[in-house]
Amino acid sequence: MKRTVPSVAVLALLVVLIAACIPAAPAGETGAAPAAGEQAAPAGEQITLRFANIFDAAAMERWQPIFDEYTAQNPNITIASESTAGSGAAIYPDVLKTSMASGSPPDLFFMWGGEIAGPFIDAGQVLDLTDFYEQYGWKDRFGAWTVDRITRNGKLYGVPFNARGMGFWYQKSMFEQYGLTVPTTFAEQEEMCATLKENDVYCVTIGGKFGWHTMRVLDYFLEYTCGPDGHDRLNRLEERWDAACVVEAYTIFQRWIDNGWVVPDFLTVAPGDARFPWYQGEAALILEGDWYEGVLKNDEQDVNNFDFYLPPTDHEPVRFSTFPEQFMITADSQHPNEAAAFLDWLTNPETQMQYVNTFASSAVKGVNPDCNEWTLTCRMREVILGAASTYPPTDQAFEKELMDGFFEVQDGIVAKQFTPEEGAALMQQRVDEWKAKQ
């Protein structure tokens, strides 16, 4: 008896401790926005809005004054930044997912456009902001395609923050050296590549690790071979990926590699390293975005020697790859109205023009950086926000699992593990497998 009682007491204590560690089920709200004005915090209540993002230290130096200014104007609200810096789409969604699954989500969070946010929306973790769009008139504030690109199943789950676009960047000195002009047709593009090859220069440099840098070039070929409508249907999985135009795009990619137009052995080169052959004059083009003037300045390159053009597709209008970045509100946020009000202030053109270096790629119409200092960025922004139609990068059209199937086939095409026909068939198989799991 004496031996039994202490053992039972110890066991009972352990059971209680373990039971206390089992997490409570999350609230599981459906993600519908409260009616505007409902659940407003009592006047004077101190509120902290937790804001998850990927801002690094340099970015936070620009953002903290913005947060402080909002608090100065709204003394009862503090913005608490929770950064997962330097991680990109490989890590940040994992951190976000953990916080949501733990029942302690942030109020606001940064997210890329497209299907990267899909799993969060489908899990009911993201607030539908459609009512807030009406309340604040947000639809008229942003570039039209940015709002379209963050619409999912007819609902608006985010507020565009950045509007990004991509084109072929080149060195003017190289074009002069080899007598090149900006191509206006796909045939001219390939003639340029052939001319460069004759001079022992690669046409394009790619960093294939992670797959998305290679994807940009393949997306361009798909836009050319399938046309805007076909490309969009492929991205919506309304067209089969073993279609003839996909086979043709894969064929073009293999031809570019066989012709020596692409810097070789790039599949596991980091995307950030792809620019080194370009700087050294060993490659003429790199498919990058509106942020690249900043990269050039950081690398102490002479920006005046660089320019960009939209890859010619032989279709009208000439579409190019664009993507928004957005802010979202979690469904379990205790302060959705306050979070929406902050986003309204943050995306107000007057606010952004006060901190224009932070919003150099803003999705808000009329917000531009100092165009004397950021000439190329301003030109590219004009193109991006004025575009009648663009296409998303495939990695924002597909969820990650299907996207990795795309990368698998893409890499196999590059390495000639399969013929274009086999690659297209495998891609359709991956689509079918993914659809069967939904």
Binding site: L14, I18, A101, D265, T268, D404
Partner: protein
């Protein structure tokens, strides 16, 4: 006089904090992970369905990437058992002699093993860079330019190239273990054998190797366990590519659980890794530990 030992509570109270820690941070997560492996939970939604053994049957019989990852892990394990272990033993035998500067050699050879694997992967990724990496440049300098290639971009060489990095970092630990065991062998054994006419091979085969029996147990079992835990080098050097050719169970588990939102499937992969590791390690340790 009662023969019952008086029960003392104090030892249990001293054990309690460690036991609680163990139960909460090891046993409970393992049990929860096992439970999740029988569900289709995405790791995010509040609800899920119990799917029984569906995740396990998919891993073993349906998912071709899982089977590819398992194959890569088996190759990695065989390579680890053969190369770092044997090289570690040979280096230990060499450094057990009274060589000048042997301490420095021991430090040099063991140092790679203490570096963080992420840093090792990034450094070797740069060394393998096809345009300006050290390896291709060195091959060109010594007249073997025809061997220069995209080591990590080639479907055929990516996994072996990554394994070379693992060998570089993995030789030091078995070397240290064998070195410690070698120094416990009585010298009289070797003297007596030499008197009986034994040569170097006889000494190694009939004295050194048997005396290292327990070291073998440790080295081989750790080699199996660590090889199935491979993640860092693959993730940093190839990210499972090109294509998915270098996926191993550890990285595939990570992709499934954290990137594809298949927490149930990822947990099942984790338990497959655990079961394989325990299936191999436990019987081997028990067998080799018998006197």
């Amino acid at each position: 006089m009662s023969n019952r030992t008086r029960f003392r509570l104090a030892p249990y109270l001293f054990l309690l904090p460690a036991l609680v820690w163990y139960l909460v941070f090891l046993v409970y997560p393992m049990a929860f992970s096992l439970f999740i492996s029988f569900t289709d939970w995405d790791g995010l939604s509040p609800s899920f369905n119990v799917v029984g053994l569906a995740n396990y049957t998919s891993i073993l019989f349906q998912d071709d990437i899982s089977r590819l990852a398992l194959r890569n892990n088996i190759l990695w394990t065989l390579g680890t058992l053969l190369l770092p272990s044997v090289m570690g033993l040979l280096l230990a035998v060499a450094l057990n002699r009274g060589l000048p500067g042997r301490t420095i050699f021991r430090v040099i050879l063991y140092s790679p093993g203490i570096l963080p694997l992420v840093a090792v992967g990034l450094i070797w990724g740069w060394m393998y860079n096809p345009q300006f990496g050290f390896i291709n440049e060195a091959l060109k300098v010594i007249g073997l330019e025809h061997l220069a290639r995209g080591w990590l971009s080639d479907f055929d060489t990516a996994l072996p190239a990554t394994f070379v990095t693992a060998i570089w970092g993995g030789v030091g630990f078995p070397m240290v273990l064998y070195l410690a065991a070698l120094q416990a062998i009585p010298n009289e054994q070797y003297e007596a054998a030499r008197i009986d006419g034994a040569n170097g091979f006889h000494l190694f085969r009939f004295i050194t190797l048997p005396w290292l029996r327990e070291a073998h147990v440790i080295v081989f079992s750790l080699a199996v366990i660590n090889s199935f835990r491979t993640f860092d080098l693959i993730y940093t050097m190839t990210y499972g590519g090109p294509g998915r050719s270098t996926q191993v169970l550890g990285t595939w588990m990570y992709f499934q659980a954290f990137q594809y939102y298949h927490a149930g499937f990822g947990s099942a992969l984790a338990w497959v890794i655990a079961i394989i590791t325990l299936t191999v390690a436990i019987p081997y340790v028990r067998t080799m530990s018998r006197d």
